[in-house]
Point group: C2
């Protein structure tokens, strides 16, 4: 009763032709359905229409497939963040907030990548290329923080950009992994994850002395205006 498999083979010949890509795609789909833990090498093979042994021609391991996905994820993540940052245009604070939104958007729209990247429990020393890709993604946040730190108001010691970057990253990751994904999002929130993160970052930046209200802060700032606060209007 394996006419199904026979037929598939008839359609595409003995050689698949693009198995590596097909496996990566299949794995993404499977992770989306069943989570990074539930995904199975054999399942990916089945989905690609090849025998369970075929994937071993392209990936040493189930883990290597997973870390390939994570690596790609970091690359796309970096691209998304970099595009959102857009080198700080039109102004640093606006661009910075856009980065936060892009972070959440990625976590929401690419949950498979996100969980391969952060929740797959891969030994971090397994794949140097993976680590490097992660570093590059973080570098975008760090560069943005650098620029932001340079705008810090005088009079107060300037916050270390590295620290700011780590803070922003931890907020983003915290919101993303607690509230913005799959059934974790079932917790009933008083606001959307995006709003939550935006408020969080705004409050944080204000704590650093930034005037985060009028947005255009790069020079001519209207500093103190009794701001409405980053949380909506009181009812």
């Amino acid at each position: 009763m394996s006419w199904r498999k026979e037929q598939r083979r008839a359609e595409r010949g003995y050689h698949h032709g693009n198995l590596k890509e097909a496996l990566l795609q299949a794995a993404l789909d499977l992770i989306a359905q069943k989570g990074a833990a539930g995904f199975t090498f054999a399942d990916a093979a089945r989905m690609a229409g090849v025998s369970p042994a075929a994937p071993y021609r392209h990936f040493r391991d189930r883990d290597e497939l997973l870390s390939s996905i994570a690596q790609r994820g970091f690359e796309q993540f970096e691209a998304a963040l970099a595009q959102a940052w857009d080198d700080g245009r039109p102004d640093t604070v606006t661009a910075f907030e856009r980065v936060g939104k892009a972070y959440l958007a990625f976590a929401r729209e690419e949950p498979s990548f996100y969980s391969a990247m952060f929740e797959s429990g891969l030994p971090s020393d397994a794949n140097p290329a993976l680590m490097a890709a992660g570093e590059r993604a973080f570098a975008v946040i760090r560069a943005a923080a650098e620029r932001l730190a340079a705008l810090a108001p005088p009079g107060v010691p300037r916050p270390p950009a590295m620290m700011m970057a780590l803070h922003i990253w931890s907020m983003s990751h915290g919101v993303a992994s607690l509230f913005a994904r799959g059934d974790a999002a079932r917790r009933k929130l008083p606001m959307s994850p995006d709003e939550l993160l935006e408020a969080e970052v705004l409050i944080y930046l204000r704590g650093l002395g930034f005037a985060t209200d009028g947005r255009a802060q790069d020079g001519k700032g209207q500093a103190d205006e009794k701001p409405a606060g980053p949380w909506g209007k009181p009812k």
Copy 2:
């Protein structure tokens, strides 16, 4: 060559007597070693010295065992946070920071619990008791935020306590899961996770208008003293 097993049985008789507890403990140990994903039902049975089928008398599933652990984790977590909070003594801000430290300490000292709680990919609707335990733990943070919000300086619209609680939680979870655990901690940081989180929370609170320097803020605050900032001294 199974004299080993025979001997164990001789020691403890046909019935284990406390298998459920033994399994939970074994699972914790295994998760600590190999991560929540790598842990195996059969392994736990072996470690407890019983046959692979025995655990099924106590847990419907591998997942049910995992969620039992997560539930216990939340209970201990709640206890740890509540103890740290100590009903806001000696003053709200100090106690609040203690909660943050307790959060990280738990993540660091009980990584098995922490990953069962937050990284095991359990369907959140699987176990109502689990969800309830999670809620109770969060309630501690929320209660603390409530008290803190009540101290918010006048003149600015008071921040919603729920939002503050979610913010604090996301920061804590973000720092914990990115920097304070296992080989994720291999990222070379300019400061310890504890310091990182403390600074983050302090900056955040300052952004809400709290004077977070002299600590005693509940009444007689020395408000403005050109604070050194929550990041150490500039070198």
